[in-house]
Amino acid sequence: MAKSNSWRQFKAILRKDLVMELRTKEMVTSMGLYALLTMVVYQIALAEAGDSFDVRLVMPGLIWVAFIFMSMLGLNRSFVHEKDQGCIDALLLSPVDRPVIFFAKFAGNLLFLLVVEVLSLPVFSFLFLQGREGFGNPIWMIGVVLFGASVGISGVGTLLATMTVNTKGKDVMLAVLFVPLMYPLLRAAVGATFAAVIGGPGTVETFWLFMAWVAGFDVIMVLVAYGLYEFVIGV
């Protein structure tokens, strides 16, 4: 019985976050806008690079820079809702296992992040990659990286955002904690994206090697985040 209750509670929290997001469209619009703004900034950054410069060389890095900062925007929002009216207390007062809250929030954040990523990636290619050679490897490989890295980002991000929502200067705080912790994941994600974009002999192997890193990071860090969550949310 306890098991099915947890599943009900998980669904309820996730559904609540989805309904709230569909109604306000707060996270997705702010994240999406942020992605568009980053592209403008990238245009400025690349303005003097000239036509001979192959944008594909820096594209993997650029998209992950956009995504990591975008994700922090969403992660911050996701706990401001809970904190605003003290709803988190009502939630904690109910007989729900703390890990259920972690996984529900994690799933919601992952979903929102993936939606914005999938929406902004075509725009990015449309704006920067027209007239260039296309992707060197099948496009689904990009999807694999997006999913793999987003799992790690939302998993660790959910734990950190739960903490930083209670700190002074929460947005800056999240960045200070989040970016260095994410270094190995981002490094591997950029490597894998690069292999997927450039293509050519050997890149498929490189891609999977980097994906193994991503997967390893996901497993270790999400498990640790899950283990620490109960302590962090209880104070």
């Binding site: 660790v156 734990l159 950190l160 903490m163 209670n166 700190t167 002074k168 200067g169 705080m173 200070v176 904690l177 970016v179 260095p180 912790l181 270094y183 190995p184 490094r187 591997a188 490597g191 890193w213 390893g216 990071f217 270790i220 860090m221 640790v224 985040a225 620490l228 302590f231 962090v232 104070v235």
Partner: protein, 230 residues
């Protein structure tokens, strides 16, 4: 008043050993000779740069260890211990960075290079600094302790991951003790290094104990003030 004689002995001994290592480095251990016959004087940094770096890693273990202990018991002393361990880590990290940058300038001709070892150490530095930024931004004492412990544990697990991922992407940073042909040191160099390393670890222990004593005093003072205030 509880003094810690061991800490003071360690401090004296550590100071003695590191000073001895300093003289051994310059007057006893031979310099590395380049193939073209020039002498690599800059290599002398090795005797301090590496011990400080290793000490920083070792002390950081205690951040995570006491972090876990704190979360299990909720006793404030463990949080204090974790915080002091991180403080000593930060101190060693900054020394490692400073000496490392100087060495890089001599040996590679640039102050900084995004080279795997340097990159990961830079990440570690950021994580340690972030630990203190986090502490400063939490008002409530217990919350601060819980968050700092959680972040200390995460950072401790993250550091080796970043280390290995960059390592896998090939490093030009010298690896002295990798084993295999041509690795390792001449005996006199090895002894000098070991003396410096042991001395540095003793200093690390002494620093930690001294800071802990300072914290204990502060806490007693606080308790006394509360008592008198009644």
């Amino acid at each position: 008043m509880k003094r810690n004689p061991l800490a003071e002995i360690m401090l004296g001994l550590g100071g003695l050993l590191t000073t001895a290592a300093f003289f051994m480095a310059f007057f006893w251990a031979p310099g590395t000779v380049y193939p073209d016959g020039r002498i690599d004087f800059a290599q002398k940094i090795f005797y301090f740069h590496v011990p400080v770096a290793e000490a920083s890693f070792l002390v950081f273990i205690f951040t995570a260890y006491y972090g876990i202990k704190f979360l299990m018991t909720r006793k404030r002393i463990y949080d204090t211990k974790a915080r002091i361990a991180t403080e000593v880590t930060l101190f060693f990290v900054l020394l490692t960075m400073a000496t490392g940058i100087l060495w890089t300038r001599v040996e590679w001709g640039v102050w900084w290079l995004w080279e795997p070892r340097l990159t990961t150490y830079f990440i570690l530095t950021l994580l340690v600094i972030a630990y203190f930024v986090l502490r400063n931004s939490v008002e409530d004492e217990e919350k601060r302790a819980v968050y700092a412990s959680a972040f200390g544990i995460l950072a401790f697990i993250d550091a080796p991951i970043s280390f290995f991922i960059t390592r896998w992407l090939n490093s030009i940073h010298p690896v002295v003790f990798a084993g295999g042909e041509g690795s390792g040191l001449e005996t006199s160099m090895l002894i000098t290094f070991i003396v410096a390393q042991v001395g540095m670890l003793m200093l690390g222990y002494a620093f930690y104990q001294l800071r802990l004593r300072e914290e204990e005093l502060t806490e007693r003072l606080e308790a006394l003030k509360i008592e008198i205030g009644d």
